[in-house]
């Protein structure tokens, strides 16, 4: 295996991270959700593309992604040590499905359009293949995981090939500039998204610190008074209908 420079970075980081006990199953569960998300994006593309000739390709791609989600799920559970709590809980919770367009109010396809969507597929699949190559290498002692990664790699070759072939068709149709621009936008967006993810982590940490401070300084003293005036609320509470106008009540959020 010949790794590109950035893949060596990924390899080094991953070789440390994957050694943390229990981490492999969590990573596999995470991949399962990423693939499921991609599958949903592709199914949306089947429904939304104006190019009817693309539907079958997107559909086959979607089925591959959903199959991969299932394979990763199985490996996650097989690798999880008892109790399988975290990996299982993660797999059972669809809110972990992230990084797919459906999390927004518009699908990835409708946000990008056909050409940019294809550019996105091509770049994401290529990157995915490189990453899985690294993970496969790291797990070379685990025959089942290696077999799984090999199967996925075969599917990804199809994804990379058809998306590249479609981009080439645009190029030969006189849209070379548009293709180049679309690839550029996708690459920039990937960097931007990576930056945004980092910002979210930083923002999250800062917010937690501030909220922690607020909790101690404000909620702490308030709790003493609150407990003094707390009313027991067990059992039925009789309700009288408020006298104010129903429309006025309906207009209020409180």
């Amino acid at each position: 295996m010949i790794l590109e420079r950035r893949d060596w970075v990924l390899w080094m980081i991953s070789s440390i991270v994957w050694r943390i006990p229990g981490r492999d199953s969590i990573k596999m569960a995470g991949f399962s959700h990423t693939e499921a998300g991609s599958g949903l994006d592709m199914l949306m593309a089947v429904e939304e593309t104006p190019r009817r000739d693309m539907r079958a390709k997107y559909f086959r791609h979607a089925l591959d992604e959903l199959k991969h989600a299932g394979l990763f799920r199985k490996r996650a559970l097989a690798l999880a040590t008892k109790p399988k709590g975290r990996a299982q809980a993660m797999l059972d919770d669809s809110s972990f499905i992230q990084e797919h367009g459906i999390n927004d109010s518009d699908s990835l396809f409708s946000k990008l359009g056909e050409l940019e969507f294809l550019a996105f597929v091509w770049i994401a699949e290529r990157r995915g293949a490189q990453q899985f190559d690294v993970y496969s290498d790291l797990m070379k002692d685990d025959a089942d995981s290696c077999t799984m990664f090999a199967e996925i790699a075969g599917d990804e070759r199809f994804h990379i090939a058809y998306s590249r072939a479609e981009l080439d068709r645009y190029v030969s149709g006189g849209e070379a500039k548009e293709v180049k621009a679309a690839i550029g936008r996708v690459k920039r967006r990937r960097w931007l998204e990576a930056w945004l993810r980092l910002s979210v982590i930083m923002g999250d940490t800062m917010s937690k610190l501030w909220l922690g401070l607020l909790y101690v300084v404000v909620l702490g003293p308030s709790s003493i008074f609150a407990r003094l005036i707390e009313k027991p609320n067990r059992g039925f509470v009789a309700i009288s209908v408020p006298e104010e106008d129903i429309l006025e009540r309906a207009r209020m959020q409180a």
């Binding site: 089925l63 109010s105 909620l219 039925f236 009789a238």
Partner: protein, 590 residues
Amino acid sequence: MSYATATMSTTVLGISAQYHDAAAALVRDGVVIAAASEERFSRLKHDASIPVRATRWCLEHAGITMDEVDHVVFYEKPLKKFERLIVSQILHFPKSFKAFQRSSMLWLTDKLWVRNTLVKKLGVHPDKLLWSEHHLSHAASVFYGSAHKEAAILTVDGVGEWASTMLWKGGPDGIKPLFQIDFPHSIGLVYSAFTAFLGFRVNNGEYKVMGMAAYGDPIFEEQVRKVIWPEEDGSFSVDTKYLSYHYSATDSTTEAFEELFGEPRYPGEDFDPTTPEGKRFADIASSIQKVTEDCLVGLANRLHRETGLDHLCLAGGVALNSVANTQILNRTPYKTLSIHPAAGDAGGAIGAALWAWNEVLCLPRNEEISKPGLGRSWSHAEVSEILSDLKITATDLGEELAATAAADIADGKVIGWVQGGFEWGPRALGHRSILANPRDPDMQDRVNEKVKFRERFRPFAPSVQAGSEGRYFEIPEGSEQPIRWMLMVVPVKEDQREAMPAITHIDGTARIHVVDEAANPRYHALLGELGKKTGHPIVLNTSFNLKGEPIVSSPVSALATFMRCGIDVLYLDTFRIDKSDMRGLERVSD
């Protein structure tokens, strides 16, 4: 439009979102013309986000834009809910530290600004926004969704703004509240705490606890009654020393709870009721089910004493407990029962819209909700185009649809059945269903393991043609509405239990679905054909989805699910698709 000039052509959009099961519903001309959960579009189970796609479809279906909607009603009052959250966290300082951090982040960045979000994401004019209340939306969903002009109404949920349970009286002058029980005393939250303890996901696995309960005996009833117990006045109380949901965002039980019941069951762990450990879990499930039923019966009886009415309306997530629903009807003086089909939070969307229609706009009473397929449908031409584009060689059966599908079921095939608009609510009612022969003794295991990839102990429901239900089941009087929406569990007649092994649960019961011709003519015809072929107009009916996924909605989602599981044949509109018809896809290449 002003409120004084509202007319029958007024259009009201109801929205529920932000907690779980977001949905949108549109009321016009006094009819619920469209209603859908966001998860059916986003494909994320229990999707709680603002229902942009569901709203978009509702408007498309009505052929209008958001500008033409007169009022948009949110199903609860978010600021009241926030107040409850903060007060609970103050009262439980310092144990509420993590919950405070987590919930504050969510509320401060998103939930508190729901008004702005609705304006921005849905394009609603702020002046058109109205705010119902959580339990009021539930109460309106069932009362105004029913044909009854007067009824006692019981809404039981996890928690709304402050209330977990409310007792109401509905009449010609609207819905009037009588009593409420406040958080943290909550049947729904306690049931969810047991759900988590038994290794299932909260807000998703409660019905699994119900299914598991049948394998056990309520020998932990005394212990459960230390956690939650019915009071003499019909209310109930909770001892919070066993519970942590009022101050924790991640856990719902305490160490004291584990001292009562032992080690919890871990998610994904095999459940075998023949082992001592499996039996313990089943006994715990049976015990919480029993105490839940007692609490609900107590509430319903008190409500009857207050109102003296013969008809009871039920809504709120707890009303999806179909075993308890039967107990309520059997153990109280009510003569009839109605339950909103999407009794959980999704139903709040319809409820909010119907409440505004009837009580804010004071328009004439709306029509009863009688048809399940309120969601999006795809035309024959659209389905045909999709199949052609995906290189699937399907057979168009036309008028032979019902007879051919019945023959496949009689031959032991498991079929996918996708017809018309998708259902409102969590149950598959013959629009997006997986169907099979209920008389095959191996069918339950086959569908659980090979088709849906889910736990072996999970039971399946039967659909039976209206008029034949009495032949197979002991139907309680007054259950006409809930049995049409698969909301009650009834005993299978003793002489039919062996004949119907795939739909008879371990305790000899089944969650029945009676199919009317008016509500679903194609499904009714299929059952009729099955009756002709086998002598039994009854079928095993389970939702068309895989474990952890929402029920399929579009033809594309149905085909994708069909390809990934052990369904033998798919009936999509009038098309019959065999797995071998999908071979064209394998030849798709670059």
